[in-house]
């Protein structure tokens, strides 16, 4: 099992001059440490207008900073919103390729379509069309990277023959992913040979069913890129502390804060009835799962908060159902002091990572200071 860190870049009010900068700099410090400790991925979302919840509207800039400040950690551009009102597909291909070059071939390319009216309405995008535009973009972008020149006549964009430059450093192109929130998107992922980037805190039963169907279906896929990226990941919270009671208590504050901020956002389904969003999407799924039935201590299933023993126990369940990677949210609205976040990361690397075969911590960093 591999581990990653996952960023929304949540900024609490009041928004004074330093508030956003502090969140960005803290996150970068966490990523430098995660790189030293042996985490495999850093992912950053693309969100717009989501007050306090996510101030990560230019993830390629943040991820470029991550790339130049680290050595091994892979940079997950995820997800890029594949809706024409947000991003022209050529600009997506160009920015991602540049990030792959700057990172020395460490890009993971995640795709998606947004689930909030706050964003879709803000760009005057039609919620009925987002799944279709995503499909068109994900079929075209790998071709822009692999063909010297690319031309296209489509429903959501058209262009005459041009060289889309630069080309990615990884050949034939970086691994491709799609965010899975709406039920059935795991099938879209499998059919197209994409990695399944779970961004909801699905229960074990839900996730197991999704993984099983994904593995079965991807065997007969028609990949949109040059290769199949058969991988599944899920998102989790992380707060690790030697004292289980302290770990759970602080971890629950993290869950509560994240869910509270997420709940303030206007979801597409809430405001615009459409079959394109049969479930409310990312944020309500987070709310539902994070307040759902737990293990007796009122924690949702599988959440990585508490002492190392508890976290190992929960993560082993994810491993057993076939999840390849768990990506962790480390903070929300800076509710946990930065020093405590770093301490939690170090403890996780020292005590939890060794219990998972694929991930060995870099020992020097585990014992090191800031």
């Amino acid at each position: 099992m591999k581990f990653g860190v996952f960023y929304e870049l949540s900024v609490p009010r009041p928004w004074d001059r330093e508030a956003e900068r502090k969140v960005y700099l803290n996150a970068l410090e966490q990523v430098r440490l995660a790189d030293e400790l042996g985490f495999t991925y850093v992912w950053a979302v693309e969100h717009h207008f989501l007050e306090e919840y996510s101030h990560c509207s230019a993830p390629e800039v943040y991820l470029t900073a991550c790339a130049v400040q680290t050595k091994k950690i892979r940079v997950g551009h995820g997800i890029v919103i594949c809706v024409p009102e947000f991003n022209h597909p050529v600009r997506i291909a160009e920015r991602a390729a540049a990030l792959d070059i700057i990172s020395g071939g460490r890009l993971e390319f995640g795709t998606g379509r947004s689930a909030t009216w706050t964003e879709l309405g803000g760009f005057r995008a039609d919620p009925d069309e987002t799944k279709k535009s995503w499909d068109e973009f994900i079929h075209c972008i790998p071709q822009m990277w692999m063909q010297e020149r690319f031309s296209y006549e489509g429903r959501y964009f058209s262009m005459p023959s041009r060289a889309v430059l630069p080309k990615p450093y990884q050949k034939p192109h970086p691994p491709l992913w799609v965010a899975v929130t709406t039920p059935g998107t795991e099938l879209d992922a499998a059919d197209r040979g994409l990695g399944c980037l779970g961004v909801t805190f699905a229960s074990f039963a839900e996730q197991e069913a999704k993984v099983k169907e994904y593995r079965r279906r991807i065997k007969s896929c028609n990949p949109v890129g040059a290769f199949v990226n058969e991988q599944t990941s899920t998102v989790n919270f992380l707060y690790c502390h030697e004292d289980d009671e302290v770990g759970v208590k602080i971890g629950q504050r993290l869950l509560g804060t994240f869910n509270y901020l997420a709940a303030q956002i206007g979801m597409a389904r809430e405001m615009y009835p459409t079959k394109s969003y049969p479930t409310a999407g990312l944020l309500p799924a987070l709310r539902r799962q994070a307040s759902g039935p737990g293990d007796g201590s009122r924690l949702p299933q599988g959440i990585a908060i508490g002492n190392p023993e508890r976290i190992i126990r929960e993560l082993k369940k994810w491993e057993a159902i076939g999840v390849d990677t768990v990506n962790f949210l480390l903070n929300a609205a800076e509710i946990i002091p930065q020093e405590e976040v770093l301490r939690s990361l170090r403890l996780f690397a020292k005590e939890v990572m060794p219990a998972f075969a694929d991930t060995q911590p870099a020992q020097a960093a585990v014992g090191g200071g800031r």
Binding site: G121, A263, P273, T274, K275
Partner: protein, 254 residues
């Protein structure tokens, strides 16, 4: 933390309904027709339309609805409502600004049993193939008219109607206190149509909003045929306490 509403609740209370009790028997309302439109609204003035218990949603928005109920314990009646949507803690809720109904019997029951702050008016829903128009008149003046343009069939499964919060007065400990009661009907949809909303008349003063409710961006409109209800009251909020902390289980007060 998210912003909170800035409404001065105490000054509103004199015109809010006095709830007769919490043990209201539910009404089944079959074969209802509901036209609802959603508009984004200007943020700053709208903050003063929400009580401190609620967070404005992001983006701020309001719902305008017209409903006809052909068969109820008080006979046929119609109901029009304007609500500002907020969050009670983490839960989206429509906070009732003002409402109108068509009969005296319905008005009395809705005020005293479910806390609707309402008056009587003429309410019509006019259905055509190219548009569905809802209108409210009071004293001969049109105070609300909006249209759902270019209706197209959708699945009722895609429609979401939010629960409501009504500001009421309740008797307690020999005095009176304000309370936000939750009215949370269930819906069984038989058909649904969606279109673009167009607001042609809105007299804010007639809905307890004066100039503070400013529609800025049309979002969606739906017209549904459904079975619904006015249910037994279950939850309430202290309007002056932030929603995550101010929930009251009915039965512990009164």
């Amino acid at each position: 933390m998210p912003k909170s509403g800035k409404q001065h609740v105490q000054s509103l209370l004199p015109r809010m309904p006095v709830l007769q009790g919490f043990d209201t028997e539910p009404w089944d309302l079959r074969q209802a027709e509901v036209l609802q439109a959603i508009f984004e609204i200007a943020e700053e003035p709208a903050e003063s339309l929400l009580p401190p218990a609620l967070h404005p949603s992001i983006p701020p928005y309001a719902t305008f609805s017209f409903a006809t109920f052909p068969d109820s314990p008080v006979g046929r009646f119609a109901l029009a409502q304007v609500r500002v949507v907020g969050r009670a803690g983490v839960r989206p809720r429509g906070y009732l600004l003002g409402a109108y109904t068509t009969t005296e019997q319905a008005a009395v029951a809705l005020r005293t049993r479910w806390g609707f702050a309402l008056e009587q008016g003429e309410i019509t829903i006019d259905q055509r193939h190219d548009r569905i128009t809802g209108q409210v008149r009071q004293g001969g003046d049109v105070i609300l008219r909006l249209e759902l343009e270019n209706p197209e069939q959708i699945s009722g499964a895609d429609v979401t109607f939010l629960d409501s919060l009504h500001l009421v007065r309740v008797q307690q400990d020999g005095g009176e206190r304000p309370l936000l009661i939750q009215v949370d009907p269930e819906y069984v949809f038989h058909s649904a149509q969606r279109g673009r909303p167009r607001l042609s008349v809105f007299r804010g003063a007639a809905w307890g909003a004066d100039s503070r409710l400013q529609c800025t961006n049309p979002v969606s409109a739906v017209f549904v045929r459904c079975d619904t209800d006015l249910p037994k009251l279950r939850f309430a909020l202290d309007p002056l306490v932030e929603g995550a902390r101010g929930r009251v289980q009915l039965g512990t007060i009164g």
